[in-house]
């Protein structure tokens, strides 16, 4: 670049060059910050109440047969038989059904103790084909 070319450079051009470079640096920084923040956030949007409501599509007009699996306490890691989770229909329209699931507090586990240890239990809800249709997070036991 000749000296005359330098003279033709206007502040706006310098700003654009620096702006682009800085912008890329900022993008890089922002991406890393976002990645770090996401790394640190185990997303648990379900509050862990006594019951959860899930909505599933009807199968040929019928409620799919739902079961729970991999039900484990978050704190004390007690595993519960999926049969401890009960499902009740709450509402339906032409295409889907809203089901409330909760843990039967009278359920007696066959292993890992004779009572349900008080905890927040997480698990999966699957349909008759074994497809996971929802995750559950339920308070149970005492």
């Amino acid at each position: 670049m000749a000296e005359n070319d330098l003279v033709r450079l206007r502040p706006i051009h310098v700003a654009k060059v620096w702006g682009t470079a800085l912008g890329q640096l900022i993008d890089l920084w922002r991406t890393s910050l976002t990645a770090l923040m996401e790394l640190g956030s185990g997303e648990q949007p379900i509050p862990g109440d006594q019951s959860n409501q899930i909505s599933v599509p009807l199968v040929d007009g019928w409620i799919p047969r739902l079961t729970a699996r991999n039900v484990v306490g978050e704190t004390f890691h007690q595993r519960l038989d999926g049969r401890a989770v009960v499902f009740k229909e709450r509402a339906r329209d032409s295409r889907s059904v809203t089901v409330e699931c909760s843990i039967n507090e009278a359920f007696r586990p066959s292993r890992g103790g004779t009572y349900i240890q008080g905890d927040t239990y997480t698990g999966q809800v699957v349909n008759e084909r074994g497809t996971v249709v929802a995750t559950l997070r339920l308070d149970a036991g005492s």
Binding site: L33, S41, E74, G118, T120, S142
Partner: protein, 414 residues
């Protein structure tokens, strides 16, 4: 007019002031529960004056007790002077103008919140109405704006230690915070509740406290005081921190191992969770939530779990929201074992790092806006400086953490 000198109040007096602020407006609490020593019902003016004068009672408690009290209605009309004085005591120290006149400006909103439809007890919608109407005066923080307590009207089945399933009262209190979950670790840890809320008398270990990879397990005798009653419950407690510190929680259940050794325990269901966790999509990054299920087993006397929300559970959450205004004595850190010191250092550095990212975000967003806007804006240098300032402050805090850690190592060596 009733005056009281502003001062720090010790825990027992603090509890008494909060209780009096409830009793003054709900005299039936004194008569309906067959207390071993029936409490005197204080005059409302004195109760409000004492509440306003206590410098270590959080603003959240003061406002909530005031509105809740006014919603009960009381004979003889309202003492607006005392109300304004209480509100004036909660204004920020650097507010321009006459504090009293600012507090007076909140008067109409106070009347509206007190008269708003709904239950007589303060409900989330009443608090929302108050916060929205007076935010320009008080400049509420995120945790104050989002505070919700208590919903305790729901009854759900829970098993007692002998396997009977009984309808138990479910109490929920929660708020949202801009701080990361790790910032609440100290308060979520049940061992610290007596230092956080004056309603907690003690958490005495009943056996060894076993450290786990992510926290500890132990049985404790929890003792709480409500007015003249002392209630002790043996609890099994599990305290946990997820590896990324995105969730910190305590789970508590009645300890089946020790329940029979406490025949005087008046509840047979006492279970729940206190947690701080990252929840995307909320009004702030972190939700702090406390749930408690209670069932009163002593059918010979009135059910004190009716009062659990107002006398204790909400207070614990209000104190947590404010970082436990009573504070944690520095002397406690002197004897910190090395393991705990390492944990504290990691926690402090992580919390500072996460907080630093949150604090830098507005500067970064403004900076981006300047470069992507339609015209050149030289103010970007201020944004860079702002981010630098946040970074410097955070590194300063981290350096303090390292220094505390070094002190702990030195003390352990001595």
């Amino acid at each position: 007019m009733t005056d009281a000198t502003s001062r720090y109040v010790p825990p027992d007096e603090k509890r008494s002031i909060i209780e009096n602020a409830i009793l003054a407006f709900r005299p039936n609490v004194a008569s309906d529960y067959r207390w071993s020593t029936p409490p005197k019902v204080p005059k409302a003016q004195q109760a409000l004056a004492d509440l306003g004068a206590a410098t270590n009672i959080p603003r959240l408690v003061k406002h909530r007790r005031l509105i809740d009290g006014l919603r009960q209605g009381r004979p003889g009309g309202r003492a607006r002077h005392d109300e304004a004085q209480l509100l004036a005591s909660t204004l920020g120290p650097d507010l321009p103008g006459d504090r009293r006149s600012l507090a007076d400006q909140a008067g109409p909103q106070l009347t509206e919140a007190a008269a708003a439809p709904g239950e007589r007890r303060l409900q989330p919608q009443h608090w929302q109405q108050w916060v929205q109407g007076t935010d320009d005066i008080f400049g509420f923080s995120t945790h104050e704006r989002t505070f919700e307590a208590c919903n305790d009207q729901q009854q759900v089945p829970k098993p007692t230690p002998d396997g009977q399933v009984v309808k138990s009262r479910l109490i929920i209190a929660e708020f949202w915070s801009d701080l990361p979950p790790a910032a609440f670790r100290t308060y979520v840890d049940a061992r610290n509740w007596p230092r956080c809320s004056p309603f907690w008398r003690s958490m005495d270990p009943l056996g060894p406290v076993v450290r786990t990879a992510d926290g500890y397990d132990g049985d404790f005798a929890e003792t709480v005081n409500i007015i003249s009653e002392t209630l002790t419950v043996p609890l099994q407690i599990g305290f946990r921190v997820l590896p990324g510190q995105s969730r910190v929680w305590t789970r508590f259940n009645i300890s089946r191992k020790f329940y029979d050794q406490f025949p005087g325990t008046q509840v047979d269901v006492d279970t729940g969770t206190v947690s701080a966790e990252s929840v995307p999509g909320g009004p702030a990054p972190t939700r702090v939530r406390a749930t408690k299920y209670l069932h009163w087993r002593d059918s010979s006397r009135p059910d004190l779990t009716d009062l659990a929300c107002d006398f204790g559970w909400a207070d614990l959450m209000e104190e947590m929201a404010d970082g436990c205004a009573g504070g944690f004595p520095a002397a406690d850190a002197a004897g910190t074992p090395v393991d705990a010191a390492i944990g504290e250092l990691v926690e402090a550095v992580t919390a500072e790092w996460q907080q630093g990212m949150s604090d830098s975000r507005p500067h970064l967003e403004r900076l981006m806006g300047r470069f992507t806007g339609s015209s050149w804006d030289a103010g970007w240098i201020n944004d860079l400086l702002g981010m630098g300032l946040v970074t410097a402050r955070r590194y300063g805090n981290m350096a303090s953490g390292v220094r505390r850690f070094a002190d702990s190592l030195r003390d352990a060596d001595d």
